[in-house]
């Protein structure tokens, strides 16, 4: 095998599984170490720089980092990364003095952001301190977009949204709330230098079934109903509620219903429990509140009497693989099921809608009605118009919207300076030895044996009484510290220098995971089978270095390395060293521009 090129920033970045999996590439182990050290403010600012909304994401993120977490491969469960983010937000000091100041000098460029959700706000945050005059438009009076309108308050209190949206708006951004944009032309006419569209996926999908029209008064589109609840226009629902759909919106609908008078709330899903789109923890939270989830039932008809909904009829189905291996839902032949109810909430998907973009302005759409957007630059076919968040590539989640915002801001910054936006800036990386003494490191290298700690919750009876009562209490500093100690510090890398190695085997003998082998060179597939412990996880690299005196190679399987540093502690010559790899994504500003 070829010796591993650790100068390639992707190599060690991949070893930091959580950071690699995070769309915004948040330096997770770095902020977790700050939490361990009790410096919540520093932990918060690391997050704020990467993902703009630490308090919001610490409660609502879809957590792509957690399934990626190495701890989940070493033992049962990953580190509670998401909830540790909330710890940093809950216990930080006043961070306002640390925030960037509004630009003292404007650069004369004007940017419009349409929609005040996470994508637009990320663009605004990145560009405003650089001197751009940013105007954010939204149909609602308050900024925040779906974070404010669709996420129930018992998961995300209003104060957290106000605080974090406030940090962005305080950067000298002009927010025009309550101003719905009905025409892109009207914006183009205002001579903005660039326009960012972050309008989300605002339309809930409907179900055209028999009875839909007749019983319309009691059938609601989930996301519209949630925002109506959020603004206080809706404050009650029938005693018996059926929620259709298996995503996170369905979970928010059913749990909100329980708080607005719903006593028998049932979630009904076409597919199986495991295939549901909702996050595992959101399903658990719903079931914890006494909400059954019924699977393999396809709605057939809304029943009604005298213009009032009486129930929903379902057909039982099972999954069958067709000749091409695609999954098909076919009726089992069992009798249909009727679930009686007073209200139905439809949470069967969201769609993009751009009726306000005129066909002749130059923004082209594909045959599914989505704008043609460059996946790297976020530019549309009209050069000064950029898309991000759900508006660009369909429904995802907040952390993706923020990541899109950063990339679009880089594009806009380069675009406004006449640079080639296809040239993307490389991340800022560094690799620094953590050695302080013979067996002293700047990080705590002892490996905690604790299992994942549960986040304390409010008692269900109390939580259900008021829709604004936050259910999760969050980790307190003590639990937060203990959970933070579970982090394996995967950003502290094992760096090997073959010319210093005397092949004494000390590292091989001490490694608790048996991940280091000195052996004869070979092709990767052959090598993987010959290591001290077989390297079966092909998604994880083998770190190979040649140049040893005996002609053998050092091969280390990165998969399960605990980053405990014992190899480096036992190395007599310093051939192994623990070096902290840091990687920061380059945001809009001088760093992203061409050097020429």
């Amino acid at each position: 095998m070829k010796s591993t090129d650790i100068a390639n920033p992707n190599y060690f970045h991949k070893v930091v599984d959580c950071q690699w999996a995070c769309p915004a590439h948040t330096p997770v182990p770095e902020y977790i170490r700050q939490i361990s050290a009790g410096d919540y403010t520093a932990a918060y600012m690391i997050n704020w720089k990467s993902n703009v909304f630490p308090g919001i994401l610490g409660r609502t993120c879809d957590r792509p980092c957690e399934p990626a977490c190495r701890r989940g491969r070493v033992e049962d469960e990953p580190v509670a990364i998401c909830r540790l983010k909330r710890v940093s937000a809950d216990y930080k000091d006043d961070v306002r003095p640390l925030m960037p100041k509004p630009a003292s000098q404007k650069n004369g460029k004007r940017i419009a952001c349409i929609g005040a959700g996470p994508a637009s706000l990320a663009v605004a945050r990145d560009l405003a301190p650089e001197g751009y005059e940013v105007v954010v438009f939204d149909q609602d009076k308050l900024a925040g977009g779906m974070m404010r309108t669709q996420i129930p308050k018992f998961r995300l209190p209003e104060t957290v949204i106000d605080e974090e949206v406030g940090y962005v708006l305080d950067l000298g951004i002009e927010f025009r709330g309550g101003q719905r944009i009905d025409s892109l032309k009207s914006i183009l006419d205002q001579k903005f230098d660039a326009i960012f569209v972050g309008t989300g996926a605002p339309r809930g999908r409907d179900l055209d079934l028999p009875g839909r029209k007749e019983a319309a008064a009691n059938i609601h589109l989930g996301i519209d109903w949630l925002s109506s609840v959020s603004f206080g226009h809706t404050d009650k629902i029938g005693k018996r509620v059926v929620v259709l759909g298996g995503g996170n919106t369905a979970m928010d609908c059913c749990r909100s219903s329980r708080r607005l008078g719903g006593e028998q709330v049932t979630v009904v899903v076409r597919s199986g429990f495991d295939e549901m789109k909702a996050s595992v923890w959101e399903k658990e939270d719903a079931m914890h509140e006494g909400i059954p989830i019924l699977n393999w039932l396809v709605p057939k008809e809304f029943t009604h009497r005298d213009g009032k909904l009486t129930g929903v009829i379902f057909e039982k189905v099972k999954a069958v693989l067709d000749a091409k291996g695609r999954r098909d839902l076919v009726p089992t032949g069992e009798p249909d099921t009727l679930i009686e109810c007073d209200d139905v909430l439809l949470a069967v998907g969201q769609e993009n809608a751009f009726p306000w973009i005129e066909k002749d302005v130059g923004v082209e759409f594909d045959r599914w009605g989505m704008p043609k957007v460059d996946p790297a630059t976020h530019q549309s076919t009209l050069p000064k118009v950029f898309f991000g968040g759900d508006a660009a590539f369909g429904p995802k989640n907040i952390i993706w919207a923020v990541a899109h915002g950063h990339e679009a801001a880089v594009s806009i910054d380069k675009f406004c300076r006449g640079e080639n936006i296809a040239e993307r800036p490389s991340p800022l990386t560094n690799l620094v030895s953590q050695k302080m003494g013979i067996h002293e490191w700047t990080y705590e290298n002892g490996v905690s044996n604790d299992l994942r700690f549960k986040v304390p919750q409010k008692e269900t009876a109390i939580a259900l009484r008021n829709i604004k009562t936050e259910v999760e209490l969050g980790f307190d500093p003590k639990l937060g510290h203990a959970e933070a100690q579970r982090c394996l510090n995967c950003d502290v890398q094992t760096v090997f220098s073959a010319k210093l190695c005397i092949e004494c085997d000390a590292c091989v003998d001490i490694c608790p995971i048996d991940c280091i082998t000195f052996t004869d060179d070979g092709e990767e597939s052959d090598l993987r089978s010959r290591l001290l412990a077989p390297a079966k996880n092909l998604t994880q690299d083998i770190y190979v270095q040649d140049g040893l005196k005996t002609g053998r190679i050092m091969a280390k399987d990165e998969d399960l390395c605990l980053h405990c540093g014992f190899c480096a502690e036992r190395c007599p010559t310093g051939a192994w060293d623990m070096q902290k790899f840091s990687l920061e994504i380059t945001h809009a500003g001088p760093g992203c521009r061409s050097k020429a």
Binding site: I438, G446, I502, A506, A533
Partner: protein, 351 residues
């Protein structure tokens, strides 16, 4: 040296032996020796050998004297019996323990100071009596604990870390063991586990005094240029006699070997050692030839490693003393005081 305990997590696909143990179950507490010490590699080889032989840890007794090497039994086989004796007195304590309970596996761990200086006599007598044991000398040719003086096994002409040249002759422990009648003699190198592990396994299965002289570079005081115990020197002067494959009795021999290049040696328990010869035509059963070979190669500065001598029909101290097969510590009062009738019978036989 590390302060922290080794993390408990292990590889999820870790191998288990016949007893269901992983190699981690044969560990001791964390080593306090210098980072990179050859002794830690030997500890690791001992753990590997015991794991591969599926030995129940509570049937092993590890005994040692004083010195860096003699500290190591703390760092392996944490579930086994242990005795850390007075300097150089490990062999007599081991002999006593072996006489009291012949059923345990005895692992004597010593160093060049412990066995070639203060305990030289003890070493000699335990070997010549044929105590059933594995006697491993972790031989680094230097007094590491007292900061790097020459030991009795340092080669004449080798240089200390401070640049002093050794003027005394070296004691060759393997040659001495051969001369004293050891029935299993080997030499190996801490940096070559593929050779060391099968040797330890074969030595454990050998019923007699098995002696392994294991060269173990001292990274702190004897791994410099001019040393004859450094990693580089040993690697470049290693004259390996043979390559060992230890095969337990149950495993069938599946590969055919070219006649003449391979010597198959049966052990008393039905297991086999398969020796692939590397160097000159060499017969591991010829003690005199072995002694000659050791001296000849030593004169050219080479270090002979591998299985040097093996007595196919060993006998041990218990055979010589004609002791009962039941371990002495299991004999009860009725066994030891058989009563008037038995005494009368003995007296009658003497009349």
């Amino acid at each position: 040296m590390s302060y922290l305990a080794k993390p408990k997590f292990h590889h999820p696909d870790i191998e288990t032996n016949e007893l269901g143990f992983t190699h981690r179950d044969y560990e001791g507490s964390i080593s306090t020796l210098c980072a990179g010490c050859g002794h830690d590699s030997i500890s690791s080889a001992i753990m590997r050998a015991c794991f591969e032989l599926s030995l129940p840890p509570h049937r092993i007794a590890k005994l040692s004297g004083i010195g860096c090497s003699s500290k190591t039994p703390t760092y392996f086989l944490g579930q086994s019996h242990g005795f850390n004796s007075v300097h150089g007195r490990m062999p007599s304590v081991l002999t006593g323990a072996n006489l009291a309970n012949r059923d345990l596996i005895y692992l004597g761990v010593s160093g060049d100071g412990d066995s070639a200086s203060i305990g030289f006599g003890q070493f000699a007598h335990s070997i010549r009596r044929g105590v059933n044991m594995v006697y491993i000398v972790e031989n680094n040719g230097v007094y590491g604990l007292t900061k790097g003086q020459f030991s009795a096994t340092s080669d004449r002409g080798s240089k200390s870390k401070r640049g002093v040249v050794n003027t005394d002759s070296a004691i060759d422990l393997a040659a001495t063991a051969l001369q004293l009648g050891a029935t299993f003699v080997a030499r190996s190198f801490s940096g070559d586990k593929s050779q060391l592990v099968p040797l330890i396994k074969a030595a454990i299965e050998h019923r007699g005094s098995a002696f392994i002289d294991c060269i173990s570079p001292c990274v702190a005081f004897n791994n410099h240029e001019g040393s004859t115990r450094s990693f580089d020197y040993v690697r470049s002067h290693n004259a390996a006699l043979n390559k060992l494959d230890y095969i337990t009795g149950r495993a069938p021999i599946t590969t055919d070997y070219e006649p003449g290049s391979t010597q198959v040696v049966k052990l008393h328990d039905g297991s086999t050692i398969r020796l692939s010869k590397i160097g000159a035509d060499y017969d591991v059963h010829d003690r005199v030839a072995a002694m000659h070979h050791l001296h000849t190669r030593q004169a050219t500065g080479e270090i002979v490693t591998g299985l040097i001598y093996l007595d196919g029909e060993p006998h041990d101290l218990h055979d010589s003393l004609n002791t009962v097969t039941t371990p002495l510590n299991e004999l009860n009062t009725p066994d030891l005081t058989p009563g008037q009738k038995a005494l009368d019978a003995i007296n009658a036989s003497l009349r």
